[in-house]
């Protein structure tokens, strides 16, 4: 997926804090702000779920927030539509200050601009699939016939045709999450927020659902903020990944950047078992062409992964050229590629 789209910002987050506990609003900016979680709780009785977080979500990208449980990622995503009220910081959507919105404006934001998909689906058990999907439209005040017609379209889009009249309890987990997805899509939001949507699902179904999200993103190009604790999911889906730990973003970058050059030991530890050849692209591995290398050998794009390059090199038996618009940027040979796989080579990836 491309990270090279026009850099229009949807969400802009600056120095965002969310602190739970007594007199929470005094923590950001105070002397306690820098304390580790345990000490902070001991001293103030407060827990900082989100600490001084800043990032931008760009239009059309899939922005993944990744972290282990308790890292504050779910709180963060809820802060974006103020399902949880941030303690301090700045937050805007399309340049509009979210924290300054009044109730009606905020409702407007939730109804039309950002819809969320939840880990535990949050479906209404007493309603049919169709009425669940139409729920957001009902909230908006749409008439019954109109919202049902629209819901039916979305139901088809997520592949639930024929199940319109079932109840959530009659569906499998994957199907239920499709309903959750359809419900969010039905309101045609500017941004889709996913809060660990697939972590309650079986691995196989999870994979299906990830494909589904990728497909939807490809078809519609909708901006997505995706929360997950699953690194491979983050790497598969994310255009950019923000890695969180104890409420802070420890690293923000493309999957490749994170895998190739972890910001600290924590991240390094985290990505240790990632099959690097699946993530790292040849752009960061190639060397300048020597001799006639620029003329011969199989051609691959700069965005091809190392794994793809290995296949090409192995088939041709010679180094591969990295070609961009007919221009040879460089070459990769088996030594370089093996070095990546073995992890002996440090790629130069700007973080």
């Amino acid at each position: 997926m491309s990270a090279e789209k026009p850099q229009e910002t949807v969400f802009s987050v600056r120095n965002l804090w969310k602190v739970f506990g007594p007199k929470a609003d005094r923590i950001p900016g105070s002397a306690h702000a820098g304390l580790p979680a345990g000490e902070l709780r001991e001293k103030t009785g407060c827990t900082a779920a989100v600490r001084d977080v800043s990032f931008d979500v760009r239009k059309g990208e899939v922005f993944v927030v990744m972290g282990l449980s308790g890292s504050g990622k779910s709180t963060l995503v809820r802060c974006l539509t103020r399902l949880i009220e941030p303690t301090s910081g700045k937050l805007s959507i399309d340049g509009e200050d979210v924290l300054a919105m009044d109730r009606a404006r905020l409702r407007e934001l939730r109804r039309h601009r950002a819809a969320m998909v939840f880990q535990h689906f949050g479906l209404l058990p007493h309603r049919t699939v169709l009425d669940n999907v139409a729920y957001g439209l009902e909230i908006q005040g749409l008439g019954k016939a109109q919202r049902r017609a629209k819901a039916a379209e979305v139901v088809e889009k997520v592949g639930l045709t024929g199940m319109e009249n079932r109840r959530p309890s009659q569906l499998s987990g994957g199907q239920q999450q499709r309903v959750g997805l359809a419900r969010a899509l039905a309101v045609d939001p500017e941004v889709l927020l996913f809060d660990e949507p697939f972590s309650a699902l079986d691995p196989l179904i999870r994979r299906d659902m990830q494909e589904e999200v990728i497909r939807l993103h490809r078809e519609e190009g909708r901006t997505m903020v995706f929360i997950t604790h699953d690194l491979s999911e983050a790497l598969r889906l994310g255009d950019r990944i923000a890695l969180m730990r104890d409420g802070e973003i420890v690293q923000l970058g493309t999957p490749e950047e994170i895998v190739a050059s972890p910001a600290d030991d924590y991240v390094r530890d985290f990505v240790r078992d990632v099959p690097r050849e699946q993530v790292i692209t040849v752009r960061h591995v190639m060397r300048a062409a020597e001799g006639d290398e620029a003329e011969t050998g199989p051609a691959i794009t700069p965005g091809a992964t190392v794994a793809e390059a290995i296949e090409a090199v192995a088939r041709a038996g010679s180094p591969a050229r990295v070609m961009d618009n007919g221009r040879c940027l460089g070459v990769v040979d088996s030594d370089l590629l093996l070095g990546v796989v073995a992890g002996t080579r440090q790629e130069e990836v700007a973080a």
Partner: protein, 672 residues
């Protein structure tokens, strides 16, 4: 492999200060060093107080110096109300509206039912039951139950009384359900309201039905309004409690999803919270209906009319046959209403399969209305509008003959083992009288201390304090000896209940078929109004304290058996397995593993047992139970409301005391 994070844990979205609460409690515990410390401290304080009290106020019965006579002022209030009820603005502009509306509403429903005729009512009840049961096989069964129940009511010659009882019930249940749902809504949405309401509901739950009648008689006099309002107040708490429970239990994920779509609070309430609470609310409605039936029947004492009055009349002339003829319809009504609402509640979960258009939504109801109208007309045409006299069968005569021959034999004429009445006499002489005498002989301060000590042993300082204050209030009101008499009956009844209940409960928990055999019986027994239990015991044990106590035992038994069985069953199977793997015998398992682990459940059984026994021991005033219950009946029938109200308050205090003393911990509290 997928570490699912619960949203609460991840977001840290808990109440502020939740983390520090256990620590604070721990500090408190340090101070007292557990139960041992508590009791030691208590013993010191108690010893001093006891000595002082004994020295200054004397031992023996409650000191006159500490009593206040409330009877006189209450009688004055009663007189004032009688004198002013036609002129005072409070009545003209408020209370009379209430009572006139109540009477008019009941009359309207009664009038409607009467004009529908027996056939109309029967058809309507059956169709509604059928619809509630889901229009399938269950529906047919429920409909048949309803039809059969009503038919038997008619056959027994109780049609008019049944209709009046139904009319009263209908109005009372609607009002109670609406009030209960509104209060429950408040308690479900506002924490503060919930905190304020909870102790009130807890207290109301332990009060015997009898205690509710008098205040309303004081204000409204006897008649439909007093009966109706007492019923409403008595029956509303389950609806309130369960509505609040349902609203509070609504899955947070669903609510959050709803909020994330930009729903307003009202939209969220309407589209998510309330539908999610439907199941609890239905259960609440079911319980409200059952309690309303129970109360409407007892309210015969204050002129409610209907089936209860037939029972009351029969009881006061010890006419077992007639009491049975009126009691059977009550039982059948209970079964009919329970099955119908129960089936409707189950339908909430059932999945709607495709049905013909006529069997969906409003179409069904329209169909039911049309069919009912047709039945009404048919009834008029064929002369079935009133239940035909020829189709009634008076069972009181044969029952009385049976009673005088066979039952009399059972009562006294059994060789060797004596007979029920002989047992009752032994029970009175060997358990009840010594207990009663012992309580009376005990110095008042010692009894207070005993209550405090016992409450501390199982509960907390707070429960102990409430218990002692409640008992002291009984003394202050000047009904100490009578209350002790009631107390002795409750204790004797409780003892019998627990012995039987635990025995049956343990048996049922260990032997599968016993439990299976018992379950329908327990189900049926738990839906019966208290009043009904008095009928067979009067036949078997004649009138007197022992009859009232036996009725109480029978009434309390199902709950105790059920809680015991469940408690034993829920014991961690791993612990059981561990015990049997070490070669423990069945009895050892029971004694060493099951019983200790089921302790909270057993304590809860004691608590429930005591509350239920008290309720019926009080009603037992009608069959010679004497003491406080008798004072209530006396106050009602002599119009000496002062006496009755004081007794009523004493009952309330006694109920509070008994509940608090047996209340294990806040956690094990009955919460439905």
């Amino acid at each position: 492999m997928t570490t699912t994070t619960s949203p609460g844990a991840d977001t840290g979205n808990r109440k502020p200060g939740a983390a520090s609460a256990p620590e604070r409690r721990a500090t408190g515990a340090n101070f007292l060093r557990g139960t041992g410390g508590k009791l030691l401290l208590f013993a010191v304080v108690a010893g001093t107080l006891g000595a002082v009290a004994a020295a200054t106020l004397g031992s023996g019965s409650w000191p006159a110096a500490l009593s206040v006579d409330l009877t006189k002022p209450l009688d004055d209030v009663s007189d004032w109300i009688i004198d002013n009820r036609d002129t005072h603005p409070l009545f003209l502009y408020f209370l009379l509206h209430l009572s006139n509306t109540a009477t008019a509403a009941v009359n309207a429903v009664y009038g409607t039912l009467v004009s529908m005729g027996a056939l109309g009512v029967g058809v309507a009840a059956a169709l509604v039951a059928w619809r509630a049961g889901g229009m399938g096989r269950t529906g047919l069964r429920v409909a048949a139950t309803a039809l059969g129940a009503l038919a038997v009511c008619g056959l027994l010659g109780m049609w008019d009384a049944t209709v009046l009882t139904l009319a009263l019930m209908a109005v009372a249940v609607v009002v109670a359900a609406v009030i209960g749902a509104l209060l429950g809504l408040g308690a479900g949405l506002s924490d503060r309201f919930d905190r304020a309401l909870r102790p009130v509901l807890d207290t109301m739950q332990v009060l015997p039905a009898f205690a509710y009648l008098l205040p309303f008689v004081l204000i409204f006099g006897t008649g439909t309004p007093a009966a109706l309002f007492a019923t409403v107040i008595y029956a509303a708490p389950p609806m309130t409690r369960l509505t609040a429970l349902g609203l509070r239990g609504a899955a947070p994920t669903v609510l959050e999803a709803s909020a994330s779509l930009g729903s307003s609070p009202l939209q969220r309430l309407w589209t998510a919270r309330l539908p999610l609470a439907r199941k609890e609310m239905f259960l609440g409605l079911n319980q409200t209906i059952m309690m309303a039936l129970s109360m409407v029947v007892i309210a015969a004492l204050v002129g409610a009319g209907g089936l209860g009055e037939e029972v009351y009349e029969a009881l006061s002339t010890v006419d077992v046959g007639k009491a049975l003829a009126a009691g059977i319809p009550i039982v059948l009504l209970a079964i009919m209403l329970d099955r119908t609402t129960g089936a409707a509640g189950e339908q909430l979960d059932a999945v709607v399969t495709d049905r013909p258009r006529l069997l969906r939504g409003w179409w069904t109801w329209a169909g039911i209305a049309v069919a009912t109208a047709a039945a009404v007309l048919a009834g008029r045409g064929t002369g079935l509008a009133d239940w035909p006299k020829a189709w009634t069968y008076d069972i009181s005569q044969p029952v009385n003959v049976f009673n005088d021959s066979v039952i009399a034999q059972l009562r006294e004429g059994l060789p060797v083992i004596g007979g029920t009445q002989v047992w009752a006499e032994h029970f009175t002489n060997w358990l009840l009288n010594p207990l009663n005498a012992g309580l009376h002989a005990m110095p008042w301060w010692l009894l207070l201390l005993l209550v405090a000590g016992f409450a501390l042993l199982v509960g907390t300082w707070r429960t102990a304090l409430t218990g002692v204050l409640a008992l002291a209030a009984v003394g202050v009101m000047g009904v100490w000896p009578k209350s002790l008499n009631t107390l002795s009956q409750v204790l004797a009844g409780l003892l019998l209940t627990l012995v039987l209940g635990f025995a049956i409960g343990i048996l049922a928990a260990r032997v599968g078929w016993v439990e299976r055999a018992l379950r329908p019986l327990l189900d049926a027994m738990q839906t019966m109004p208290q009043f009904v239990y008095l009928i067979p015991v009067v036949a078997l044990f004649a009138v007197g304290r022992s009859a009232a106590i036996i009725a109480a035992v029978v009434y309390a038994l199902p709950a105790v058996v059920r809680i015991t069985t469940q408690g034993l069953r829920q014991v961690d199977p791993a612990a059981m397995e561990a015990a049997s793997s070490m070669g423990a015998s069945g009895f050892q398992q029971l004694r060493q593993v099951q019983l200790p682990l089921a302790r909270p459940a057993l304590l809860l059984a004691v608590n429930q047992g005591v509350v239920l026994v008290l309720a019926v021991v009080i009603v037992g005033g009608l069959v010679g139970g004497g003491a406080l219950g008798y004072d209530v009946v006396f106050g009602l029938s002599r119009g000496e409301l002062g006496t009755g109200l004081v007794a009523g308050m004493a009952i309330v205090c006694l109920g509070l005391m008994l509940d608090r003393v047996t209340q294990p911990t806040a956690a094990a509290r009955k919460d439905t």
